[in-house]
Amino acid sequence: MLNSATSRASLRGLAIALLAAACALAAPVRADDLDDASRLLKAGERQQALDKVNRVLAEKPKDPQARFLKGLILTEQGKQPEAIDVFTRLTQDYPNLPEPYNNLAVIYASQGQYDKARAALEKSIRTHPSYATAYENLGDVYAKLASQAYGKALQLDASNAGAQNKLSLVRELVREPLARPAPAIEAAKPAEKAAEKPAPAPAATDGSAEVMKTVKAWAEAWSNKDADAYLAHYAKDFKTPGGEARAEWEKGRRTRIEAPKSISVGIESPKVTMRGADQASVTFRQTYRSDKLKTASRKTLELVKADGRWQIREEKSGK
């Protein structure tokens, strides 16, 4: 477990990672201001940091990076209702960003609202199935909900345990800075939504068996923790979920696949939509179980047939 000093450093790490993303991907004009705000927050000058961010927001009220930083500052200031407001609006405007959900969950958890925290974290994971921080937080929230349920079962006074949990959850939020830049720009693309609707093309049905075979092999490789075999299922032009570089994405996936002692991935009620001879979309319920975690989510794999075999070109989670 990390101590609070470390956690504060990591919190800044989170902010800086986001700012870096902002520099790289968005208008450079405000980058300096946000950078300053982040530095002020780092120095403990929360009010000044907030003033700075507010100035940026006066110019660009929709800016996700600035809003996210504002949420962090408000959280550090202990202004929970305001921080909740900021993060909630972010989730509404950018439903594909996992981080605001995660931070919302941390605040809810610190208030003892574990059901809300759970809902937010589940959304965060549905948005980005490989978002490790959300998984870890969700594990803690499940454990906390479990202890509440046990308390009701056994008529125990769980108030002490609740106070204890608040601290560890704040640490949870910042235990691990984002491994990749927040895909704010990517996620904000409205085009992606439209692409999710599968075009019901009347195509050769005999291809679907082959597609399912590939999907099953993919799940099997994952379950076997065979990262090479798993990654081999992805097409050369695979759209990484966060828009990051292929190498970076692979590295992240490899860690996720190799870290747990055991993994079991199940495919339930799959539905194959053929979009021609060499394009298919498979939607299914993915159950994931490792020695650490158990989740289930809707998943859609977009597959293409290249070099004589089906490969994953895009992977989408959530409803």
Partner: protein, 384 residues
């Protein structure tokens, strides 16, 4: 034909939907867990808790389902070691009792105790202490038919009550003797209470004492209590007590409490019932014939009624019968209930219509019959 079948099927489904008791719903949770459908199990347990917020066992199962998402479970009721383990064990015991009860007796298996119900008895209650289960049988033309069963809590110290304050539940054949509504009780008894006639004549004969054995509900802050928690009473969840209570008839409904219910085939029960019915009829005929020695031959050497042993009873009957010119004995509304834990003892209750040139009277009579050798003999006789 097909349409009829469809309608019947739809009705059957509707019936099933209506009959989804909390018990069934908990079973459905366990079924989902067994099928490894944990999300479904969670949905079901959430619904169950929404309906019965004080169902502690349901909360325990929910705790496990949540914890299973965070870490592998070590045990059922995976709570930390610092909580009182006795409470967890009680809930585990409740879970075990409820799980075992999912195996209902097969249709052709009947409790060996209910040989015959009289027409006025709409139901009979049979309690299986080992299974923490209460079975409700409907009277279908004198034969029992299982219509419902419920989880019950019994005495802290188990069964076979003998002494006041031993916190045990008696084993025997009893009758509901009162109906105490909720308004006359403290919250501890929940939805109501139905006292039974412990100690009955057989208990008294064995020197057992104590009093106040009731069927009753639970306090409002719980849904159910652990399997062994009462001072000897039979405790049901409040909705269950209400459902059972609707079937109980004060002064009529038998409550048979067994250690572990013995099950029997209908044909075997029928054979036994017929042989006892024949013995009863012979007793009636012999009494009516005023052949006192043949009449007294129906009584066991161990017979006792109040302070009378067989000799005293025989002397009295000889005197009375000799003074009569004629006797007519009518026997009607006969029930025959085998006594659990006793070797071939059956409690026979009936309406006796006695007429003679001297005294005539109509009374409720109770006899305890025992199988001695090939035949049935009377061990006890008194007012019912």
């Amino acid at each position: 034909m097909i349409r009829l079948f469809t309608i019947a099927f739809a009705l059957a489904l509707a019936g099933l939907a209506c009959a989804a008791t909390p018990e069934d719903k908990l079973s459905a949770v366990f079924e989902a867990i067994e099928a490894n459908k944990l999300d479904l199990a969670m949905k079901r347990v959430d619904a169950l808790i929404a309906e019965h917020p004080n169902f502690r066992l349901a909360h325990l199962v929910r705790g496990d389902l949540l914890l299973a998402r965070a870490q592998p479970l070590q045990t059922f009721g995976n709570v930390v070691k610092t909580v009182p383990q006795a409470r967890v064990d009680e809930l585990r015991a409740e879970a075990m009792a409820r799980l075992r009860a999912r195996q209902r007796p097969a249709d052709d298996r009947l409790p060996r105790y209910v040989l015959q119900l009289q027409p006025g008895q709409k139901h009979a209650i049979v309690v299986d202490a080992r299974r923490s289960r209460l079975y409700v049988y409907a009277n279908a033309d004198g034969k029992p038919r299982l219509i419902a069963d419920y989880y019950v809590t019994l005495g802290k110290n188990g069964i076979e009550k003998t002494r006041e304050g031993d916190q045990k539940t008696p084993v025997g054949v009893y009758t509901v003797i009162a109906n105490l509504p909720r308004s006359k009780l403290t919250d501890f008894y929940g939805a109501g209470a139905f006292p039974i006639n412990y100690p009955n004549e057989w208990d008294k004969r064995q020197g057992r004492n104590g009093h106040g054995i009731w069927l009753h509900g639970v306090p409002s802050d719980v849904y159910a209590r652990p399997p062994r928690a009462s001072d000897g009473c039979i405790v049901l969840a409040n909705p269950d007590l209400e459902a059972v209570g609707r079937q109980l008839q004060v002064g009529l409904t038998p409550v048979i409490i067994a250690d572990e219910v013995e099950w029997s085939e209908r044909s075997a029960l029928e054979a036994e019932r017929a042989s006892l019915a024949a013995a009863l009829e012979q007793w009636r005929a012999d009494w009516q014939s005023r052949d006192t020695e043949r009449y007294l031959a129906h009584y066991s050497s161990r017979f006792a009624s109040g302070r009378q042993d067989l000799a005293a009873w025989g002397a009295h009957k000889r005197t009375v019968n000799a003074a009569r010119k004629w006797i007519k004995v009518g026997v009607a509304r006969v029930s025959m209930l085998r006594y659990p834990r006793e070797r071939d003892v059956v409690v026979v209750s009936f309406d006796q219509d006695y007429r003679s040139d001297g005294l005539s009277n109509v009374m409720k009579k109770r006899q305890y019959w025992v199988k001695e050798g090939a035949g049935w003999k009377i061990l006890y006789e008194g007012a019912g």
